[in-house]
């Protein structure tokens, strides 16, 4: 099977379809892609047909996210909305020892079998596993994407902190919609937005959310961690956040930047553990310092305003992993997953749902495998591991989450 390359020609003619995971972030990213000359569109199809297509086109023992992402794409291709000779697909590729690095290949195989072998698939990865002449991320575009991740993380975090307490139903959603719209507009206007401008936005966003009238009552806080796709995607986790909200909890979900930093950090750690090129590592150290510096800005802005709980700083999470798991565990969500749970528990968010696709290999170790130790060191930690897959029933999942909530309300 020859790889169909995304050529420079195609940049002009083809629409790039992007699967969803985090709506706010991904909307901005698509805007940025458009600003940089790509025709891009975010897929929003999330009907049951997506799962059906996934089952049909992907080996059923493959992890659920692969099934959903590929299912969503094929479902979109067959919707009749697109000229199939004028579309390309974009998919992320982390490139670790987890089978997730193979999603792109499974997608290509599925396309081939369904007769769409001619559709180019673009790999979006940190390590540049594949190259496409028509798809290159320039430095300004990369910075813009970073902006989008920080802003998206901030918006979702504030949304989570306001939603359960808003007095006027819809206030929070309104603010999110406003800022999403505004920021997408801004991203679509300029190829590059300076850091200072982004910082001004942070302040404005935080102030605006702080103005939402909120109840003072105390709610149970529930952290959601896990495999990145099922953690974030409502399609992947049976609308977990909505369920928790409905059960009267405040949801705390660590942001996407943490995962990005984790990938950067691992490249540095890999050299420490096993050796390798010094030049590459120097570059990654630069990136690491740049990103953690910017992350600090968001945290400081939240602290300064004072109404909200700031998220945790990546270098602190790095330290938190010590005593639990080595930083050498770098497949899947790796040590970060353990660190995120510990970080949540330390911040007083002792109730945690650890989500993973059924049979997720890294989570045997970093998720389920670490719960015992975390509980030993933090007796108040109240953690439930929930598996997701096309056959798992919501009743079973909800019953276990309710047990966790019952324990939470007891203390």
């Amino acid at each position: 099977m020859e790889r169909v390359v995304f050529t420079e020609e195609m940049k002009k003619t083809h629409t790039i379809l992007v699967p969803t995971m985090l709506p706010v972030h991904f909307n901005m990213m698509v805007q940025i892609m458009r600003q940089h000359g790509y025709k891009a569109e975010l897929l929003t199809n999330d009907s049951h047909a997506v799962i059906e297509q996934g089952l049909r086109n992907v080996h059923n023992d493959t992890c659920y996210p692969a099934l959903l992402v590929i299912g969503q794409m094929i479902d979109a291709l067959e919707s009749g909305k697109y000229d199939l000779h004028k579309v390309a697909l974009l998919i992320t590729q982390t490139g670790g020892g987890c089978r997730a690095s193979n999603y792109i290949h499974l997608l290509r195989k599925a396309l081939q079998k369904s007769g769409y072998g001619y559709i180019p698939v673009i790999s979006l990865s940190f390590t540049g596993l594949e190259s496409n002449p028509g798809f290159k991320i320039s430095l300004p575009m990369a910075v813009q994407l970073v902006n989008a991740v920080f802003l998206g993380d901030l918006l979702t975090d504030l949304q989570n902190q306001c939603l359960p307490y808003e007095i006027e139903k819809g206030d929070t959603a309104g603010k999110v919609a406003y800022w999403e719209d505004y920021l997408c507009g801004q991203m679509g206007k300029k190829p590059y937005i300076p850091r200072a401008q982004v910082r001004k936005w942070y302040d404005a966003i935080i102030r605006d959310f702080a103005s939402i009238p909120r109840k003072k009552e105390k709610k149970v806080k529930v952290g959601v961690v896990g495999e990145i796709y099922v953690k974030y995607s409502p399609l992947g986790n049976n609308n977990l956040e909505a369920f928790l909200l409905q059960e009267g909890a405040e949801v705390v979900v660590p942001g996407l930047m943490g995962f990005c930093l984790y990938c950067v950090y691992n490249t540095i750690e890999d050299r420490t553990l096993y050796g390798g090129s010094a030049g590459k590592v120097a570059l990654f150290k630069l990136i690491y310092n740049y990103l953690t510096g910017r992350e600090k800005e968001v945290i400081d802005a939240v602290k300064k305003e004072g109404s909200f709980r700031p998220s945790s700083w990546f270098p602190d999470e790095v330290k938190l992993a010590e005593g639990y798991i080595s930083h050498g565990v770098k497949m899947g969500e790796g040590w970060l997953l353990t660190a995120e749970i510990v970080s949540l528990v330390h911040e007083g968010i002792e109730n945690v749902v650890c989500t993973q696709p059924f049979g997720c290999l890294p989570n045997h170790i970093v998720g389920k495998g670490m719960i015992r130790t975390i509980k030993e060191k933090n007796p108040n930690a109240n953690i439930v591991a929930v598996d997701y897959d096309p056959g798992a029933s919501a009743v079973n999942q909800q019953n276990r989450i309710k047990l966790m909530l019952a324990n939470a309300q007891k203390t």
Partner: protein, 985 residues
């Protein structure tokens, strides 16, 4: 009077208690057959007499109660939490509660760190599991309990989930194992599951209360728990009201928090409660209308074998017997292939007596008019039946089915057979079987699942199926394993789906399982043009229709769909042109007796449970064996077996006392292949290396209590036992490094280990408490970069063991790399030698592929020996993976062990005398990727692909059929090729 009512709606039963303080005034426990709302109303009405017009407080609990609580506005309390509320009622000094429900299992630790746990989604049910197993044995749950009381021995039965257990039990049944022993083994499986799945390393000690329906009703289960946990009588509490624990706790909770209400109001709310928003997905109805159905029925009526009256026939007749996993089929055909006699029945766990009755009938019907020329038996019970009745011949199931399908459609190119336990499908090319696909242990049980389910809902299968035909809203139940389907059904019922909708939904699920999980088809064209479907399950029109729907093509279903195996066997016998059958005569049959006794084989360390069948003529038949040893056959020629050779290499590693004392290595996962490396390395540094012994079942039992994830692969689970063994020996330094990267063999894009292999030491450290008391060393090393390895190892070992010098490490590393290279070379050389042996002796070669740790006999369950007993020389993937240029595959080829598979597949395609068999551990996510690729490589060159999924299930019944089918297909293909060669010449 202050009254509190607790309602507990579980997956199968409703429980209602009315309490005044600690006193129970009223209690009822009944099955709800999915009619949750009606049953609850009914029980409350019965309680009315007790309650009268008094106000009361009420709350509701249970896994199936959530929907009703919302719709009727009744306070809901999670059931585990409710159980904890009930503790003071039973005994305030309880330390641990074990509660088993219809489909959930829970453990509550009340002292020393309160903790509550529920089974994961994969573990399936317990009460429902026992019900299912009882129906498999054809007894009521009550009778199952009585049987268990008379057991003599226990069989190891996979306890992870019902589907697995079933795969273990069915073959045992067919081998004639005693039901008494099986009943007790089923209870033991529940106990093991509770301990491994739930306790997960936390010790079960102190006063333990056992609650919930199954633990109340089944004395056998109680006994298994007491014995397994070594409980003294005062520490094992089986409260009389154990099955009401959740309801009682719920009543207490209601008393504390709920507002007062009255009976009229409550009943009114319940009666008016309707499902609310439905979370269930619906599918299109199977038939638009009656007419649609009639056309469908008429079309299928065309595929019919005619029958003729046996009374009016004289001449030759041919008998076919299909002794399947759950059913027995018998067909007698005449010279013109018409059916003289047919029989189809559930084998009720005792196929021998059923077949005896049938043979007597047939012998009588034949009289002197009809000559029984031949008898051929196929199916799970083939060996047993053949031996019992001196049936002339046996034929592999797949071959029998092919034979029969060809009778209906000479051009058949695809056969799908869904039986009680198996899904089998085969493609046919050039008149021979081209590829065989069978379901793996996980998705098995499909046909019988519908039946068991029908029964559990109070219906006969035929009636249940008929109802599904005209369902307007078939529910979408997913296509994973049947345990998941159970939960999906539960959800659908919650949302108000009718029996008809569920019946139709189950049919669709069975079909989807077959198409997407077993066949892995993308389009109908991939299946074929002339499709024959068969097996008892296809007699269900709903299943047939669902199948045609899903593939968008009409298929042929013979009217004897359920008898095809037997029919094919009869045709095969007829083809043999034999004069007279040697089957027992009428007189012999009438005096025929059969006893089965279970014994443990003492032939080797495996201690296989055997069943010894003794027949009236004194002849014995032994089943359950994995090798020829207990049969007393002196295997004159032991064929070369790389798996054995590799084990011998491990056994041959000798350790000497060292100045630095002992260091332990667990013999599992990558340590199995890397042992020469670390052994040499540590020996050179002056350690006495202690390696845990090669795994047995005991190894698993030793470590099963600390496994945190019940869906991890069996090889990973086993290593817990190896660590425990080392701890038991008093080894105070254990070494097991984390290896993100494996050795680079330059075969692919990268050379990773899989996440589980790479980081499992972290899991061991975090979950085996006792490791904290010893020195457990699990450094991160990169053996793929020798220079960096030496640098890092120097730092590590000099820090850990003062006195070790740089030079020591350098020398040790030199020895390690040399020993590793030598061990790899030995394997390659020996492999080449084995291939030469096979060729000079005219033997076929099986390239048994997997991971290096699949050589562990507890992981492969002796499949290598089974292969040599079938006449094949066994080599492993790494014997040949260096003999071809690296294969370019369509996936990211980034794991060292997996890259070998692709190369081995390539090599097999270049060698006519080699067949590839891939071992896949259940739960191996990465093999979801490799299996498709290996299959593609093989099939592109016209080779057969065989995948064997393995787990803790130790029964090789299905594997044997699988391998014999493979050999049968290969032989048939060779004959066809030879014939073509002759024609061309």
């Amino acid at each position: 009077m202050r009254l509190n009512i607790g309602i507990d709606i579980g997956s199968t039963t409703v429980k209602v208690v009315v309490m005044e303080g600690e006193k129970i005034l009223f209690k009822r426990y009944e099955r709800h057959f999915s009619q949750v709302r009606q049953k609850t109303g009914e029980l409350l009405r019965a309680a009315r007499e007790t309650v009268g017009d008094n106000p009361f407080r009420v709350a509701l609990s249970g896994s199936a109660g959530f929907g009703l609580s919302k719709a009727a506005g009744i306070e809901f309390i999670q059931e585990v939490y409710a159980t904890s509320k009930a503790v003071p009622f039973f005994d305030p000094d309880i330390d641990v509660i074990i509660e088993l429900g219809g489909e959930d299992a829970k453990i509550l630790f009340l002292t020393g760190g309160v903790e509550e746990r529920m089974n994961g989604t994969c573990a399936g049910g317990t009460g429902a599991f026992i019900d299912q197993m009882a129906s498999l044995l054809d007894v009521t749950p009550g009778e199952l309990d009585q049987l268990a009381a008379k057991h003599e021995k226990l069989y190891p039965i996979a306890s992870r989930c019902g589907v697995f257990a079933k795969s273990d039990i069915e073959p045992l049944l067919n081998q004639g194992a005693r039901k008494e022993d099986l009943a007790a083994s089923i209870f033991q499986a529940v106990v093991d599951q509770t301990i491994t799945g739930l306790a997960q390393g936390r010790e079960l000690k102190g006063k333990i209360a056992f609650l919930g329906g199954p633990l109340f009703f089944f004395k056998g289960l109680q006994e298994r728990f007491v014995e397994t946990l070594h409980l003294s009588p005062e520490n094992a509490l089986f409260p009389e009201l154990g099955q009401f624990s959740v309801a009682i706790g719920t009543a207490f909770y209601a008393g504390e928090t709920c507002p007062e209400t009255e009976m009229d109001d409550l009943l009114d709310r319940i009666d008016k409660a309707t499902g609310g928003v439905s979370a269930t997905n619906y599918l299109k109805p199977l038939f638009a209308n009656e007419e649609d159905y009639r056309a469908f029925a008429a079309r299928h009526a065309r595929a019919t074998v005619e029958e003729r009256e046996i009374e009016n026939y004289s001449g030759n007749a041919y008998l076919g017997i299909d002794c399947g996993s759950t059913t027995t089929k018998v067909v007698l055909i005449a010279e013109d292939d018409k059916i003289l006699y047919k029989y189809y029945s559930s084998n009720h766990g005792n196929p021998v007596s059923i077949i005896r009755e049938q043979l007597i009938r047939i012998r009588r019907l034949c009289g002197d008019r009809i000559t029984l020329c031949s008898g051929v038996v196929t199916g799970y019970g083939e060996d047993l039946i053949r031996n019992a009745f001196q049936v002339d011949d046996g034929i592999v199931e797949t071959m029998a089915h092919f034979r029969a399908a060809r009778h209906f459609e000479p051009d058949v190119d695809f056969i799908l057979d869904i039986g009680g336990q198996d899904i089998k499908c085969f493609k046919v090319r050039n008149n021979s079987i081209d590829s065989i696909m069978l379901n793996e242990a996980c998705s098995s049980g499909c046909g019988s699942f519908i039946e068991t389910f029908a029964k559990s809902m109070g219906y006969e299968i035929a009636d249940f199926a008929r109802r599904g035909l005209f369902s307007q809203y078939p529910v979408d139940l997913g296509s994973r394993c049947t345990v998941f389907m159970n939960s999906s059904v539960k959800q659908a019922q919650k949302d108000g789906a009718s029996v008809a909708d569920i019946s139709a939904g189950l049919s669709l699920s069975v079909v989807k399982n077959a198409i997407y999980k077993v066949i892995r088809a993308h389009s109908p064209d991939e299946l074929g043009r002339h499709i024959v479907v068969q097996g008892g399950t296809f007699l269900n029109d709903a299943v047939l229709r669902s199948f045609e729907r899903e593939i968008g093509r009409d298929v042929i279903r013979p009217n004897i769909a359920g008898l095809m195996g037997a029919f094919g066997a009869a045709l095969y016998g007829k083809g043999k042109r034999q004069k007279e059958s040697g089957i027992l005569s009428l007189e012999e049959l009438e005096h025929f007796t059969h006893t089965a006794k279970s014994v443990t084989c003492k032939g080797c360390a495996n201690h296989c449970p055997l069943t010894v069948n003794t027949f009236s003529d004194g002849k014995r038949f032994i089943s359950g064996n994995k090798c020829e040893k207990p049969l007393g056959i002196q295997n004159a020629e032991k064929l070369p077996d790389m798996y054995e050779y590799k084990l011998d290499l491990i056994r041959g590693l000798k350790s000497t006392e060292g100045p630095r004392g002992k260091i332990g290595l667990p013999l599992g996962l990558n340590m199995i292949e890397n042992l020469p490396f670390w052994h040499a390395f540590l020996s050179s540094l002056g350690f006495e290396v202690v390696v845990s012994p090669i795994s047995t079942r005991q190894t698993y039992n030793l470590g099963r209590y600390t496994i945190p994830s019940d869906t991890v692969c069996y090889p990973a689970k086993l290593i817990h036992g190896h660590i425990e063994w080392l701890l038991q020996q008093g080894i105070d330094t254990i070494f097991y490094p984390c290896l993100t990267y494996n050795f680079d063999e330059h075969k692919g894009d990268n050379h990773y280990n899989c996440p589980v292999v790479a980081y499992y030491p972290e899991t061991l450290h975090a979950n085996i408490g006792a490791l904290k008391n010893v020195r457990f060393l699990y450094p991160y090393f990169g053996v793929h970069r020798p220079k960096d390895f030496i640098r890092h190892a120097t730092r590590f070992f000099m820090d850990e063991f003062p006195g070790i010098t740089r030079k020591d490490v350098r020398v040790a590393a030199g020895a390690a790399y040399a020993a590793y290279a030598q061990s790899r070379q030995l394997v390659r050389d020996k492999g080449a030698e084995m291939i030469r042996y096979a060729r000079s002796h005219g033997k076929k070669i099986a390239v048994l592929c997997g991971r290096p740790y699949h050589i562990d006999p507890e992981i492969n369950h002796g499949i290598n020996r089974l292969l040599t007993s079938l006449g094949m020389v066994v080599i492993s993937e790494d014997c040949v993976s260096d003999l071809v240029e690296p294969v370019k595959v369509d996936v990211l080829n980034q794991w060292t062990y997996h890259a070998r598979l692709y190369n081995a597949a390539k090599y097999v395609t270049q060698n006519a005398d080699m067949e590839l068999i891939q071992l896949v551990s259940f739960g191996c996510g990465i093999d979801a990727i490799t299996t498709d690729e290996v299959r593609a490589i093989l099939e592109s060159a016209g080779k057969l692909y065989t995948q064997l999924k393995i787990d803790e299930i130790s029964n090789l019944g299905a594997v044997r059929i699988r391998l014999r089918s493979l050999l049968g297909a290969v032989a048939e293909r060779e004959t066809a090729n030879a014939a073509r060669g002759m024609a061309n010449a």
